[in-house]
Amino acid sequence: MTTDWPDPPKPTPEYLLIGALALAGFLIICIFLGFAAKKRSSSFELFLVGGRDIGPIITGLALCATWMSGWACLGLMGITYWFGWPGMWLAGVWTLLGLAPAALITGPKMRAYSAKFGAATVPDVIGIRFDSKLTQAMAAASMIILLMVYSVGQYTAGATAWYAITGYRWEICMLLSASVAFIYLAFGGYTGTQWTLALQGILLTIGCFALGIASLAFIGGPEALNAKLAAQAPELVGLVNPKLSGVPAAQFAADWIGVLATAIMFFTMAIGFPHNVARFLGMRKFTKRDFAIMMAVIAIGGSVPWANLIVGLAARAYFGPKLAGIPGMPTGLGRDAAAPLLAMVIGGVPLSTIYLVAVFAASLSTLAAMVMVMSGNVTRDILGLYMPNLSKKTLLAITRILIPIFALIPLYWAIVRPPPLLAYLMSGAAVGLGSIFFFVVAVSFYWRGATKYGAMACILYGMAMCALGGYYVYTINAWGWGYWQLATFIGCGALYFLVSLVTPKPPKERLDELFG
């Protein structure tokens, strides 16, 4: 093959104008929904969980919207763009493997803790389960740290999409992306949480499926896609790419140990993500019919990554490796722009505008849910626990002050040290969140033998492994990503079970109350 690939499309004023108008319209609707809900969220509890009256369609859509982050709607295409088919294992192919158990296993228990014990946050649930303030505070603190990392990706995703359609300098794109997020948060987009999230779930599903179908048609169908990829490099159409074995951070695409680790990561992450499982705290008492409807919604929403990974492959077939070095962008981020650039080529202004709104819907929904979780964690799970004299009104006020702070810190990070490939950053945090909270939350709902010491050991080990992974996997590229994921997951599980078995259990009456 020659190196004569088509240039990325040039942005024109129409893209900017229509894109900005569409984003403004989207923001106005979100803010309107926020205001409508704000009237009802006067108390601290209502602010965090709503009226516990949310139905199955909204709960299912909100779950999908918080799961489908900027990573799922943009970074995911960056992975398959760069790694070809072997990248699909990390590119959300296992999404339903995680979302389904989250709804089937964790969801009903979350709802029960919310209704029976008044739990309003995930650490709250943990505090009640283990009857331990310290465990609750530790869970809250570790969530804040890992969610902060994950939030960085939300800004980057919006900025990358904006970059593709405007061609502005990267810093300006980041500021624009951040401004949208701030307007959204400041005008109460988060107060309409479930409703706004549901709208965003619909938008991102439509946008991503539209682009997925258009991409496959554009490239000439499944066989033509593979033929074009194989002509570039045969590794692009394999299931794993052994040539990547020299790049430990890319083990997810290099061998079957890496692939196994991706499956475990996706299985644990939806169950373990506090901003995902928090969605179940606000739901009403479900009937069987409600539950079946919610599962159908999740099956549709959870299919979005399959469309997305095709988009990344189609972008590779069309642009070749050319996007890796786009001038004006931090190294590597051009790969993440694969989807918006392909949208421009295929569908011009209309398709890329639909996709742009989808990316912002995806990243804002995740960001807002995370910022809410982080601020709620600080007030309710740390301050509220150790300073019980603070009134609920004060706690609500502090939460509102913390929201912009928790939105600012990741922004600073995203500008100062943008990740080389969005997927790396996000999968790092996902490994930690999934490995820790799969045991501390999901398993603890069903295993009476779990103790607070087991939970704390699991949290400490998981956090230590995240710190080590940040250095050995992502910084000096010494540990294989898959080995690291497996060591984190297995280690968290081993400590959780072993420490629980040798430490004193909560009183029987307490357990009967929780499990009765």
Partner: protein, 34 residues
């Protein structure tokens, strides 16, 4: 041994995932707890 094509692998994951949702939902409804 010929490696299955990437499309086949993707289809296997898609069908497997949808089956998981279907069977999981069925089991949950079968053993419904009020």
């Amino acid at each position: 041994m010929a490696e299955p094509s990437a499309w086949t692998a993707l289809m296997a994951v898609v069908i497997g995932s949808l089956l998981l949702v279907l069977i999981g939902t069925w089991l949950r409804l079968r053993y419904w707890e009020e």
